[in-house]
């Protein structure tokens, strides 16, 4: 609808943002650490220059909500190894191309002649499978609950059309478990969460309730425009000032408390929770999604016996600490020197929504 255009201008209105900034400044000056989990929020805050508008006692810490950044080295190695099989076409989102694995990257593999195709969605991957019946198309399934339902649907679609050469290498992950892990580790004090807007559009606001109830951390599900983010920060500060810890939705135009039950149903029809390894956070129980037995024929892990060899991390890379919010990118000795978007050492610098990449691209204005 053409009226949707108005959401952009209304939620970027500088009069509104000025009033919200003023409100934030009038709140009691207690130091707070607020974590924005989602990479898109990190980028949005930089893009609109929100950090400088906040009072000094409000610190924004970036979290692990970038699916590219948290993909384990071992999984990247696996994808590269499967792409090296001559009969395989690896279909992947563009952002994964440059992520360095232990010794190579998908981009390098492609340059060596492996068939690696960038796709915008699983529909493209299905089409490639349909038009190349002699090839085995493996879709590199990364992404959180925003993306996982569509990948689940792609397997339902493949089943419907009896597609025999389509596989999914699922490294999908779900959002609430790492937030629990961060809060329970106590490594960084988190006084409030800016919750991911689009993940929540799928899962709703209930999955975050345990953070407020069991750990006393207020949560606000936030949209991505400047007004959304500033309003959400103000809502978190309000809760802290009142000693309240609840889960509230700021992004009302998109997120309902119950989320999108149909999408969730599709997702869990094909996928089920499993333990998953997160780069920088280690293995988090129940934080991943694997393909159910009933759909095993699409599971790339079963179809291909791959041993990618030992996993190696770059010695100086501190992506893990960045992802946990322990340090900001400029504190990493590699940042901007050896590790740049053209020559990334770790995934936080590769992804367009990675914390390090955001700091590199937009930072330095302060």
């Amino acid at each position: 609808m053409f009226t949707n255009m108005k959401y952009l201008s209304e939620f970027r209105d500088s009069g509104l943002t000025a009033r919200l900034v003023e409100r934030i400044h009038r709140r009691p000056s207690i130091p707070v650490n607020l974590m924005e989990v989602c990479g898109t929020h990190t980028v949005a805050m930089f893009r609109h220059g929100i950090r400088q508008l906040l009072p000094r006692h409000v610190s924004m810490v970036s979290g692990p909500g970038c699916p590219v950044c948290v993909t384990a080295n071992r999984d990247v190695d696996w994808a590269i190894a499967v792409a090296r099989q001559p009969e395989v076409v690896l279909a992947t989102f563009g952002d994964m191309l440059k992520v360095p694995g232990s010794s190579s990257s998908l981009q390098q593999a492609r340059a060596e002649g492996c068939q690696v195709r960038v796709v915008y969605s699983t529909l493209d991957a299905l089409r490639i499978a349909q038009s190349h019946p002699k090839k085995k198309v493996v879709f590199f399934g990364i992404g959180f609950e925003t993306t996982a339902p569509t990948v689940a649907c792609s397997m339902l679609e493949a089943e419907q059309s009896d597609l025999r050469n389509y596989y999914v290498f699922s490294v999908h992950k779900v959002m609430p478990p790492p937030m629990r892990a961060l809060v329970e580790s106590g490594e960084v004090r988190i006084d409030g969460f800016l919750c991911p807007g689009h993940v929540s559009a799928i899962i709703g606001s209930e999955p975050y309730r345990f953070l407020a109830r069991d750990h006393g951390v207020p949560c606000v599900v936030s949209g991505f425009e400047p007004v959304d983010i500033l309003q959400s920060i103000d809502m978190l500060l309000a809760m802290r000032a009142e000693g309240k810890a609840e889960v509230e939705i700021q992004y009302r135009r998109v997120v309902r408390p119950e989320g999108n039950p149909l999408a969730v149903e599709q997702m869990y029809r094909v996928l089920e929770p499993c333990d998953a390894e997160w780069r920088g956070l280690g293995t988090i129980p129940g934080s991943g999604l694997q393909i159910r037995k009933e759909y095993a024929r699409f599971d790339a892990r079963l179809a291909f016996q791959i041993d990618p060899g030992p996993t190696r991390e770059h010695p100086g890379c501190r992506c893990g600490e960045v992802l946990r919010g322990v340090i900001a990118p400029p504190s990493c000795p590699l940042f901007g020197r050896i590790c740049t978007p053209e020559n990334p050492v770790g995934p936080c610098m590769v992804s367009g929504e990675g914390t390090c990449s955001s700091w590199y691209s937009f930072g330095g204005a302060e």
């Binding site: 500088s14 220059g49 960038v118």
Partner: protein, 361 residues
């Protein structure tokens, strides 16, 4: 037998090649220099003799010297290859792009574009009707710009060797006396002007390529800017720099100027025009309009006191109607471009690194 597609034989240099050249290229571009069909076009520059000033070395007082080796007139030359996919998109095509891209590169050096040479790499199987459509578009663009296509080349490659059609255009022009426009001339205090909305071309091409449809379609802004530049230089001969923000967008162009001139540039987001559809498309894909290509816009750096007059003249000229001042040149931080965001914050605007990729979630 009517040949309606390009065959490998069209590239062999024999009768078929000659026929293709006659029926497609000469028929469209025909001009005295081209019609002679020599290996090179020989061009008479007598009309520009007045540009060879009396002050050129080697010429005695009162004599005019038309030799091109003297400092005046100065020759500008540029070349560009065009491999855009798809060949046709809203607002233009590869032909228009091939002419305007090269005309504009000459204009941005302050040169008057005069002549183009065009090389074509044709893929076997390309419909000749398509080729003729592209050439007709080139002719129209060349006429609008006031340039002639005086030389050309054609090669044919096997099916699969080229995305239908690649075009390389080389252009020459002459720079009038007294004009010194360069990306390294910006000085602190100068005004930074933009001729109109950004992101149109890149989004128009992407929309067509990916089959994205918008209620209000975006058309490429591809256009020849030499007449606009002419007007601008007349009104303000002291323009320091001119650049057209093509690949890499406005952000990359401003960074280039800042680096080459050893200055900083500060722009304001609220002043940069972006069409609603371009904005929406960029939001959807996760692109930033600052990095999207333009093919009919220019950035000008001019002394601050000239800005108002220059803008007024631009707004009265075709392709300059949307001209605005978007920022100023500062002395530091050297080499950086800063932007005051629409909500009053500040951010750094980096050069485009790598490719722009659409967002995942």
């Amino acid at each position: 037998m009517i040949i309606d597609r390009v065959l490998l034989a069209h590239g062999s240099g024999g009768r078929l090649s000659a026929e293709l050249i006659e029926t497609v290229f000469v028929a469209a571009f025909g001009n005295p220099a081209l019609d002679r069909m020599d290996d090179s076009a020989v061009l008479d520059l007598a009309a520009f003799a007045p540009w060879a000033s009396k002050g050129s070395p080697g010429a005695s007082q009162g004599e005019s010297d038309t030799s091109l080796i003297t400092p005046n007139p100065r020759l500008a030359i540029t070349t560009d290859s065009h491999v855009v996919k798809p060949l046709f998109f809203e607002g233009g095509d590869i032909g228009r792009l091939a002419v305007c891209g090269t005309v504009n590169d000459l204009a941005m050096a302050g040169a008057r574009p005069l002549y183009l040479a065009a090389g074509f790499i044709l893929e076997e199987g390309l419909p000749i009707a398509t080729l003729m459509q592209v050439v007709a578009s080139m002719k129209e663009a060349a006429a609008e710009a006031g340039v002639s296509v005086v030389a050309g080349d054609t090669k044919v490659v096997e099916r699969g060797g080229a995305d239908g059609l690649f075009i390389t255009t080389t252009g020459v022009g002459l720079v009038p006396p007294g004009v010194d426009v360069s990306g390294s001339n910006a000085r602190p205090g100068d005004a930074v002007l933009l001729s109109g909305s950004i992101g149109d071309h890149g989004i128009a091409v992407l929309s067509r390529r990916e089959g994205l449809e918008f209620r209000v379609p975006v058309a490429s802004d591809v256009a020849p800017l030499n007449h606009l530049v002419d007007t601008m230089l007349r009104v303000c001969p002291g323009i320091r720099a001119l650049r057209d923000p093509t690949r890499g967008g406005l952000a990359t162009t401003l960074n280039e100027i800042a680096t080459r001139s050893g200055v900083a540039i500060r722009i304001e987001e609220a002043l940069i025009p972006v069409h609603a559809t371009v904005q929406a498309a960029c939001e959807m894909l996760g692109y930033d309009p600052l990095y999207v290509a333009n093919e009919g816009k220019l950035v000008a750096v001019a002394p601050a006191e000239e800005a108002a007059r220059l803008l007024e003249a631009m707004r009265q000229t075709r392709y300059g109607e949307g001209a605005r001042q978007i920022g100023t040149v500062l002395s530091e931080p050297t080499g950086k471009v800063l932007m005051k965001t629409a909500i009053g914050g500040t951010r750094v605007v980096q050069t485009l690194m790598g490719e722009m990729l659409p967002r995942i979630c």
